[in-house]
């Protein structure tokens, strides 16, 4: 972290008082204006600092995710509904889940997260998920117990 300016150090002296004084109306949920991104035009990003710590405005660009669900029965429906909110990999990387488990997941997306999935489409989506690569073969994976051995009392 960069060194503070003397001005900021001086400001630190009246810290607590200052904070209490700066009451800005009724708080609201969302902060307002879109932040200025650190520009590529040579204008330095804005920053604030005090007592040896400086924070600098930051903007990032997230990588795009163009991966879609593999071709299959009603894959169009699955792509349209599921990838609106999350990567296809979230589903594709799951262990083998039963139809009941997949239905519970789709139901949670609709009822809890309010995904605009039509009730009439749920069956087809569940059917695709159960049969997609990595899932076919049907039975849920995994045994009931780790291969962890019995452990006698420690000798240490």
């Amino acid at each position: 972290m960069r060194a503070p300016s003397t001005g900021l150090l001086a400001g630190g002296v009246i810290a607590l008082t200052a904070i209490v004084l700066v009451l800005v109306g009724a708080p609201h949920d969302r902060p307002s204006p879109p932040p200025r991104a650190p520009s590529a035009t040579g204008v330095p990003a804005s920053s604030v600092g005090a007592r040896g710590v400086r924070l600098t405005s930051t903007a990032i660009e997230l990588p795009a995710d163009e991966a879609i669900f593999p071709e299959g029965p009603r894959s169009d429906l699955v792509n349209a509904n599921c990838t609106a909110c999350h990567s296809a990999s979230m589903a594709l990387d799951q262990p083998r889940l039963s139809a009941e488990q997949w239905r519970a997941t789709v139901t949670k997306m609709r009822e809890v997260y309010k995904a605009p999935v039509r009730a009439a489409d749920v069956d087809a989506i569940v059917q695709y998920l159960v049969g997609m690569p990595g899932q076919s073969g049907g039975a849920p994976s995994g045994s009931a117990q780790d291969p962890a051995p019995n452990v006698p009392p420690s000798r240490s």
Partner: protein, 410 residues
């Protein structure tokens, strides 16, 4: 025995094997492959993941999901230092509308609800408050979920949904005192810049009991390992709740609401709930059981000096090392076994950098030709030891049993 010994021994073994042409056949240690994918060894398969460096502020990470990002820290990162570098620190977001730009001059943290003086605090003001620095492990509630058997739905993490950092910031108690908590306060809810993608979807927010919020340890961090937080880890400020699972460590914190009642919103009332049973354990397949919100972490330990499945040249004994954590208190002792838990050997602990952080351990175990099941077991300062058998619950939360790493002596 120290960390350097363990690393040098591992390197020596690898070089000998490379010279002998043994390693290539196994594949696990071929650098060209290791750059691109990693096998998380999840039971039942579907365990291969891509390594990516495409995320801003992040080096090579295990890609669990691009949108919203789920990035896991490769285990070898934990072998290099008990502090996890910011650019290798795991990432987890719930909704895809996450903050991608923050102006430090206009950002405000709003404090309201059951208080006498609602506040809107700028970052320049926050930086002038009395400071505290705490090293602490930030671990996802579902860390190691992919190892549950039977498997459960959710992010299929290996062990890398965790990291240890030096968090620099201000005490939450000081902020609450400035706002003046009114009598009758019950919980404090923390909200952030991320937003639901659906109009009626539940905005991610978590709450702590008022006494916990005011315990002087819970803090608002603006510094992470001596730098500002990476955007993906919650820039400009995040909540730090030492000893508690990461779900409470709200990233990009911008709202603190004091509540005169318990938080009944989705993320506290329905999500991140664990069985109200010892170790959060229920019989596989159980559904109807009393639950409570997930809370304190438990002791865990890992061997990190060699990856699972590593082939090494046989010798009578090898140095091993790794990390351990006490959970909600300090870490007291780590034992290691190379015969599947029949014989245990004491290890030497590295410096204590804070009871909520990772602690390095190093030891030496005998090696047999063939596959050696190397297990680590730790005790925390409350005397709680890692159990041998894994738990199960439908959320895949709170795994903490003794972990096993297989090393093949050729």
């Amino acid at each position: 025995m120290n960390m350097l010994d363990a690393r040098m021994a591992a390197e020596t073994s690898r070089r000998r094997l490379l010279a002998a042409g043994v390693l290539g056949a196994v594949g696990a240690a071929v650098p060209a492959i290791a750059q691109r994918t990693v096998d998380l060894h999840l039971p039942g398969g579907n365990a291969e993941r891509t390594l990516t460096s495409a995320f801003p502020g992040k080096g090579s990470m295990i890609l669990q999901r691009t949108r919203p990002p789920l990035l896991e820290t490769p285990m070898e990162v934990f072998d290099r230092s008990i502090f996890t570098p910011n650019d290798r620190f795991f990432v987890r977001w719930h909704w895809a509308d996450i903050p991608t730009a923050v102006d430090v001059e206009t950002f405000r943290l709003r404090v309201g609800g059951h208080v006498t003086r609602p506040l809107s605090i700028g970052l320049a003001q926050l930086l002038r408050l009395p400071r505290v620095e705490i090293p602490a492990v930030n671990q996802c509630s579902g860390n190691s979920r992919g190892l549950f058997q039977p498997r459960v739905a959710g992010a299929q993490w290996g062990h890398g949904a965790m990291g240890n950092a030096k968090w620099l910031g201000v005490r939450l108690r000081d902020i609450l005192d400035l706002a003046g908590v009114k009598a009758g306060a019950v919980q404090v809810r923390f909200g952030a810049l991320d937003r639901p993608l659906t109009p009626d979807g539940p905005d991610f927010a978590k709450s702590l009991d008022i006494d916990h919020a005011r315990d002087g340890e819970v803090m608002i961090a603006f510094g992470m390992n001596g730098e500002q937080l990476p955007m993906l880890n919650g820039f400009p400020i995040r909540l730090v709740v030492p000893g508690w699972y990461s779900t409470y460590w709200i990233k990009a914190l911008n709202s603190i609401q004091v509540l005169p009642h318990a938080d009944d919103h989705y993320w506290m009332a329905k999500a991140y709930k664990i069985p109200a049973t010892p170790r959060a354990n229920v019989a596989p397949g159980s559904k109807d059981f009393p639950t409570i919100p997930i809370n304190r972490m438990i002791p865990r330990s890992w061997m990190t000096s060699l990856p699972d499945g590593q082939v090494v040249a046989w010798e009578p004994s090898i140095p091993v090392g790794g990390i351990a954590m006490g959970g909600d208190c300090g870490m007291a002792k780590v034992d290691v076994s190379s015969d599947g838990g029949r014989t245990w050997y004491r290890t030497a602990l590295g410096p204590d950098e804070g009871r909520y952080g990772f602690r390095r351990w190093d030891g030496r175990v005998p090696l047999r030709r063939g596959t050696n099941a190397i297990m680590t077991r730790c005790w925390n300062t409350r005397g709680v030891a890692q159990p041998a058998t894994p738990i199960w619950n439908p959320g895949g939360y709170m795994r903490g049993n003794i972990e096993t790493t297989h090393v093949v002596a050729a």
